[in-house]
Symmetry: C2
Subunit: 527 residues, 2 copies
């Protein structure tokens, strides 16, 4: 297999770069056939120019055009599900079924269709009309969006098919997809479907483009470029913060979804009430997908006592019994081991795991660490090192106050959970804890583990820094996720026939609510 | 007059710093009596700690508490209008009437009351409920907000009384006001009213605080601090970008309102249709307030011809006839002169002005510069240097295409205007120009000058970088401006009695619309 082509300005063509990379199958550590190119700056510059040109063209498109493309794309993917899923399985070792085929693929296609619906119904635009001053405003497209997808969802967060892609397109923006280096073939197959759908729905040439890899410096240049509107990035913290610094300097919004340890507080009476269920729920959530979820519960806070000890023993037993799943790759394996070492440096010790189990594939023993509330408070940062994968840290506190003190020291997270006793026996502690936790998490859960991020209009897959770069936005959930890729467009005294349809007196868009003189209404003006 | 006190944690007290500063009356260049302190880091740290503590306390407050405070504050100001206006006049040379007393003061009080109303009606929170998944979300307060007010609106954008202050408080956040160094006495008087209102409405001690000045380094440390939620900054570009870099590194949102030259395109047929009116409108807008508005028209683009020459001559005549207004201070005077020099370096030449007129006060001749479209396109950045004050640059283009090419080279601006002929003779050119201009401006106007920023729900006082730091937000307009100081709070499976009132099944908040299962409705769930 020769070097694979990039997709630039409507064409599949050889990269002009000379560097290439390969990838492995994490299930057997074997190098997969096929090389993929590292795009040099000249090529990225061309991609930017094509996206810029495409943006000028699509600004005049009716929103239905974007919906048509998204729907055609979803239908294209449906004709190639088995091929795409097989590639993803080979590149990530995630099981074909139920994970890839029945879970992620269904979600991916559904997201594209939900985004199409949002493009049509315009609910993301928040049209606002002030009749007294004749000033009108709405959200409109921000410009070409660069999407950097993560490793752990090769379909649903894929740079050319996932949530960021769907959101960016539905809000009217060209996308420059930067595929993840660990699953380029999966991305290439998706891009083929995207390119085909773009052609059949007559989108401009530079509307969807794919490159596989850039140097760090060129990645930074890309996100800072004046021709770019914004960036969506999901992945490791260090690489994300490197891009953030560049984008910030260039004045371009960048939406990051970085690491999160997703603290779970199990209150004392909940533990005594339903210990076995909690063990089951926690182990299931923690080891699912070999722990490789953004919302994996990486920190559990308990109050010391017999029940806590029973919980820990039971979890440890299940961690030992459960097979160690295959990790996404050697990078994840290394960072998991490094994360566990970092947490141990705080004085936390190993309850179980922390050893290799099968050298023939990428994996590591299911690992449980344990520390105390006192130790946590001595070194809050050290205890919040992420060990991404099948690992979790239990922090045992001496008192309710210590649990609250731990909550006060949390960094920003995507989620925070509190389990409390059914009939209110934990409510006093709940109230104090929730007050703290609320400030540091995007999504607060009750009696439920954080994994499983529904594509719901009310979802927040976001949270305070450093979980993301801005606590006001969500990466999942439609229409809210579209608003990341939007600018506020205001029209002051603009002649009626020049207004966008969303802002005209007559409301011709079926079901569209507008904020008119302080009230949401779907009526036309003057009626 | 000794060194004036700072307001920290509920007390007026001497600053612990040893450095002080004074200010002048720009109308006679005399140093005004009274010294104001530069706060050292230890003092700022104390301010942050007090704000952090206050935030914990107010998180449990009903929204009405913030409204009560804002309304009490508005009423307090009303009892001291003459004193406050007199101080502002002395420190800025802006006329008492109509500007300060009848314009800005009325606006300031009205903004506080509009913000109070938004705090009560919760329209800024965008509550979203998905009944299928039982996930609910809304915008909530982001945490203590630092407000850096500008020089040019000592009341309506004052750090402790203006739009950012009102928005931050109405969304439930404590404010750390960093007064502008040119009008500290005005700010102090307002802060006295704020402090008194906070006391009578029983707000916590650290809820509103005032410092007057910091070193650059300490300002950067303040905006990056983990205890801070966000920053609102209005002012010069270089200082704003310095703070932006620090805030970005710290992961704290910062909303900037920086320089903008507010391009005005006058299309050929409009010019021939109503030349006299256009001259009148432009000169009025450009010289109003001695040109010291964020939305002052600093760049006018015309197509060459007799009418363009007549326009230029008529404007020049009026610039010469109009008295040169007093500028806000020596800093503004210097930067205006430097800006004019910078623009001249591009090859632009002076039509009129560019000379001192009265050494006894801060002022400079009304200045008109002229360049060509060709020159602009040779050095677009140089032609977009801001010369803040009573100055403007006219760019005369040889063709419609050149006008469009100029639009393509614009930086991000708050506003962009197009004047076109009444009956549609300019419409073809309008369409092309507007398509370009739309991407670079927050507010697009027709047949209207950009000065005059109504406090309207549909207003956008924002725009693409470098006019601001994020094109999705507005600094003026309620409720939208409140959303800058918000985080997205999601509740997943949270027990009903623990939900905030906005997200409960029963909608008890009068008039509050919620986005329930994809539709805006003010009904309770299940009804």
């Amino acid at each position: 297999m020769s070097v694979q082509p990039v997709h630039i300005n409507g064409e599949w063509r050889p990269s002009t770069g000379s560097k290439t990379f390969t990838r492995i199958n994490p299930a057997n550590r074997e190098v997969l056939s096929g090389e993929f190119p590292v795009s040099p700056w000249e090529e990225i510059d061309e991609v930017l120019e094509a996206a810029h040109t495409a943006f000028k063209e699509v600004r005049d498109f009716a929103p239905e055009r974007f919906a048509d493309f998204l729907e055609a794309y979803a239908a294209e993917i449906e004709t190639r599900i088995d091929d795409i899923v097989a590639a993803a399985n080979e590149e990530t070792a995630l099981p074909v079924s139920p994970r890839l085929k029945d879970g992620e693929m269904v979600r991916t296609i559904d997201q594209l269709r939900q985004a199409a619906q949002a493009a049509r119904n315009r609910s993301w635009t928040l049209p606002t009309i002030d009749t007294k001053t004749n000033i009108r405003s709405m959200l409109g497209p921000i410009g070409p969006v660069a999407v950097f997808g993560p490793n752990n969802f090769p379909l649903a967060f894929n740079s050319i098919a996932g949530g960021d892609f769907a959101a960016a397109v539905a809000s009217g923006n060209p996308v420059i997809a930067k595929g993840h280096s660990a699953h380029p073939r999966t991305t290439q197959l998706l891009a083929e479907s995207a390119a085909h759908a773009a052609e059949t729905t007559k989108m401009p040439k530079g509307f969807v483009q794919l490159i596989y890899r850039t140097s760090h410096e060129d990645g930074a240049r890309l996100v800072a470029d004046k021709r770019l509107g914004a960036t969506g990035y999901t992945g490791a913290r260090h690489a994300g913060l490197f891009l953030k610094e560049a984008a910030d300097k260039g004045g371009n919004p960048i939406y990051l979804e970085l690491s999160s340890i997703n603290p779970v507080f199990i209150l004392p009476n909940a533990l005594s009430e339903r210990l076995d269920d909690l063990v089951e729920e926690f182990v299931g959530s923690c080891l699912m997908g070999t722990g490789q979820f953004c919302t994996n519960p990486g920190l559990v806070v308990l109050r010391a006592g017999d029940h806590a000890e029973q919980f820990i023993s039971a979890v440890a037993k299940k961690f030992e019994e459960a097979p160690a799943g295959t990790l996404l790759g050697e990078g994840v394996e290394q960072s998991l081991r490094a994360g566990i070492v970092a947490i141990q440096r705080t004085g936390a010790h190993i309850v179980t795991g922390n050893k290799p189990v099968d050298e023939s594939r990428c994996c590591f023993a299911n690992t449980l660490l344990r520390s105390t509330g006192k130790q946590f408070l001595n070194d809050p940062n050290g205890h919040q090192e992420e060990a991404f994968g099948n690992s979790s840290l239990l922090v045992v506190c001496d008192s309710d106050d210590e649990m609250i003190a731990v909550a006060e020291q949390l960094e920003g997270n995507l989620t925070g959970c509190i389990y409390s006793e059914t009939n209110g026996a934990d409510d006093a502690l709940y109230d104090q804890l929730a007050g703290e936790l609320r400030r540091y998490v995007g999504r607060l859960l009750n009696d439920k583990m954080p994994t499983g991020v529904a594509v719901s209009p009310a979802m927040n897959h976001g949270g305070p820094y450093p979980a993301t770069g801005h606590p006001g936005f969500t990466a999942v959930g439609i229409p809210a996720s579209l608003r990341r890729f939007a600018m506020l467009e205001c029209y002051d005294n603009v002649r009626p026939h020049r207004l966008p349809p969303e802002l005209r007196d007559e409301n011709t868009i079926d079901g569209l609510s507008r904020f008119v003189d302080g009230e949401w209404t779907d009526r036309s003006l003057g009626q």
